[in-house]
């Protein structure tokens, strides 16, 4: 198809349709209302089904059921709504069902505000729900990438039988950019028929049971170990990141994800002109996090700068990667305030002029 | 004798009062107020019967009413 100018939210919806998803269950919340609105008129066109759930709690359990029947399904919401889904997300992960979740983050905590934020990083990557489980988390930085990652998300979810979350911010949801949907896209993972799905037990096939309950502790421990093995495979095979301005050595390594990284690219170019040599690693998969890559890149720099639209969450993963081998600095804005290239440059100068305390 | 006072800055120009007035003595101004709304005005104060329907219907409490002397109550409010 030709390039189209699309709102991020609509591109996400269309990407799901292109990925063969015919089911959406969700509840309105700014700044992602355009996703359910788009699905509500788009899905009927492809013989799909849109259901406006009575709440996010209900929506998350509806996708639990739909996924259990083996169909592709997704839901979307924003921060407070995602919090309400935590119990069901834990069930879905425990039952090893493939679903795609979209969180267009807004500022918190509580009702907070509706402007862009990245303050749900911990919730998404460390598990906001109970028990040992992990989501595969992908963070787009443009509308086109959002569209691409959503399609991959469905393949990854099916392949790993694991929930995949698209973690975007208000900008991704609201802005318009050109998007192109490639014809005849091939899945990013080999896909098998879903023999495990609860679709009626015909003939003498044993009943298929979708559940996360294991009353025998040994069985549950084995189940936990099975999940751990799966997560380790993800860490080996699904790490995604992008690198910018990488050279032999550089003054500063910037680590940023999502739309914030776009600002950093502008800042890096501005700094070049001022003779400051900075590079950036942009984690695309937040879980699994590109620890090895960040560790290696940090070695080439004098210092590391992490920028987020939060009070500092991804920085913990950067610390885990760098293990104290380089000073790590943080620049963050909150509440819907955005970061400008000028702010990044200023912070970088401050760091390099050592005016700032180590690990300041 | 009733006296209607419309706060032009409070008015959002919804015209509900204009519709509500049984005497049809309210109208909309041709100019806009500070917030860009064409505001309501009293066109013919003397024909006002003091029923307060305009006051009651105004979502922005932009209309107040005072009376000189006694006032006839058309309904309990």
């Amino acid at each position: 198809m030709a390039k189209k100018l699309m709102k991020g939210s609509e591109a996400i919806g269309e990407a799901a349709v292109q990925a063969g998803c015919k089911l959406f269950f969700g509840y309105p919340i700014t700044p992602q209302n355009e996703i359910p609105e788009y699905m509500s008129h788009r899905l009927p066109q492809v013989g799909g089904m849109f259901v406006q759930a009575e709440s996010e709690v209900a929506a998350s359990n509806m996708i639990y059921g739909a996924a259990g029947s083996g169909e592709r399904v997704f839901t979307s919401s924003s921060s407070p709504g995602i919090s309400l889904m935590q119990e069901a997300i834990s069930y879905i992960a425990g039952s090893e069902l493939p679903v795609v979740l979209v969180n267009i983050m807004r500022a918190g905590p509580g009702l907070g505000g509706i402007l862009p934020s990245q303050a749900d990083y911990f919730q998404a990557t460390k598990g906001g729900g109970h028990g040992d489980y992990r989501l595969l988390v992908l963070a787009p930085w443009s509308v086109q990438e959002a569209a691409d990652l959503v399609q991959d998300a469905f393949d990854l979810a099916d392949y790993y039988r694991n929930p995949v979350m698209i973690l975007g911010d208000g900008l991704i949801g609201q802005m318009m950019e050109p998007v192109e949907f490639k014809e005849g896209r091939v899945p990013c993972k080999p896909l098998e028929p879903k023999k495990w799905a609860a679709t009626g037990c015909k003939g003498d096939r044993p009943t298929n049971i979708i559940n996360s309950l294991y009353l025998d502790p040994k069985e549950l421990e084995d189940h936990n170990q099975k999940l751990v093995a799966k997560y380790e495979t993800m860490q080996r095979d699904e790490v995604r990141f992008a690198e910018y301005g990488a050279t032999e050595k550089y003054d500063l390594l910037i680590v940023a994800y999502g739309t914030v990284a776009r600002v950093c690219v502008t800042a890096i170019e501005d700094m070049r002109e001022e003779g400051i040599n900075a590079a950036m690693i942009r984690p695309v998969s937040l879980y699994p996090f590109p620890y090895a890559k960040v560790r290696e890149a940090a070695q080439k720099a004098k210092a590391v700068l992490v920028t987020e639209l939060s009070t500092g969450q991804m920085i913990e993963d950067v610390r885990l990667a760098v293990e104290g081998k380089r000073p790590i600095h943080f620049y963050g804005r909150q509440g819907g305030m955005l970061i400008s290239p000028e702010e990044i440059t200023a912070k970088a100068k401050a760091i390099l002029s050592k005016k700032e305390a180590r690990n300041g | 004798m009733p006296q209607i006072a419309i706060d032009r800055e409070r008015c959002k120009g919804c015209e509900l009062c204009v519709n509500a007035c049984p005497q049809k003595i309210l109208g909309m101004a041709k100019e806009i107020n500070g917030r860009g709304y064409f505001f309501a005005t009293v066109v013919e104060q003397k024909r006002c019967i003091g029923c307060r329907l305009c006051c009651i219907t105004c979502p922005d409490v932009a209309i107040e009413m005072r009376v000189h002397g006694t006032m006839y109550h058309y309904f309990a409010y």
Binding site: - | G13, C14, L16, N19, G50, I56, M65
Partner: protein, 257 residues
């Protein structure tokens, strides 16, 4: 010697509201404030703000206020009232807030017989988020998540909250009113007054459903909106009192085979 016979009640803050022109949220706010003043309870009243267009209600009243998460105002109100039974507690909720995500909380709050007053503003739409379908959206009514009109075969029929709550056995006052004309507003105020009185007498849970307009998301001017409400909402949402604490509940009996 000139006397002011109509002016802003003390319980209503003297500020501009963010409500759209002609939105009757403003009228309902004033009615509640007038009742609070007339009953002389402003200084011991706590309002519970919902998530909806009235999310900023705490700026528009001169009483203490407490925020609630979307749909949970009845639970927050329960917390306040059980902690401080001497306070007068009212929640102010929209139809998405109360009838969709908050259905469980309102049913159980009413069923526990919490001594609170709920002002339930039914405008048949999600106003704040830009006009999505509400549980109260009428059959065929257009909304951003049902752009060809609500299809009852997919989304079911609108929920009538007053009818539903009146079947509970726990004593309560439940009524439906409207504010699309001044005289309707006068009656709505009377219902709201009775609701607060029942609470103050520690008699029972009370809820007044008030039909309201949303010119912006209905996509018609305010005056037309009131007419649309009269023509379309009243037939489906009949006005009147559905339950009083003095009388038994109104649960239907078995119809037999």
């Amino acid at each position: 010697m000139a006397e002011t016979v109509f002016c802003r009640p003390e319980a209503l803050a003297n500020v501009h509201t963010h409500y759209c022109p002609g939105c009757t949220h403003g009228v309902i706010h004033r009615l509640v404030a007038e009742v609070v003043d007339e009953l002389g309870v402003r200084e011991r009243t706590i309002g519970i703000a919902p998530v909806g267009c009235s999310v900023l209600a705490y700026n528009y009243f001169t009483t203490d206020f407490h925020e609630a998460s979307h749909g949970r105002a009845p639970a927050v109100a329960t917390g306040v009232k059980r902690a401080r039974p001497d306070l007068v507690v009212f929640s102010y909720q929209g139809d998405g807030d109360l009838a969709s995500i908050g259905m469980g909380e309102i049913v159980h709050c009413a069923n526990r017989g919490e001594k609170i007053t709920v002002i339930f503003v039914n405008n048949a739409i999600y106003g704040m988020t830009g006009g999505q379908m509400a549980p109260t959206t009428l059959p065929g009514q257009v909304a951003t998540t049902c752009q060809t009109g609500r299809d009852v075969s997919l989304a079911g029929y609108p929920i009538r909250v007053s009818e539903l709550l009146s079947t509970l056995r726990t004593p309560a006052f439940v009524a439906r009113a409207s504010v699309h004309t001044p005289l309707m507003a006068v009656n709505a105020k009377e219902m709201i007054r009775r609701a607060f009185k029942y609470q103050i007498a520690n008699a029972c849970f009370s809820l007044v459903e008030v039909l309201s307009t949303c010119p912006t998301n209905w996509g018609i001017p305010p005056a037309e909106a009131t007419a649309w409400l009269e023509a379309n909402m009243i037939p489906y949402y009949p006005l009147g009192i559905f339950k009083v604490p003095e009388k038994e509940d109104r649960a239907p009996k078995p119809m037999g085979k």
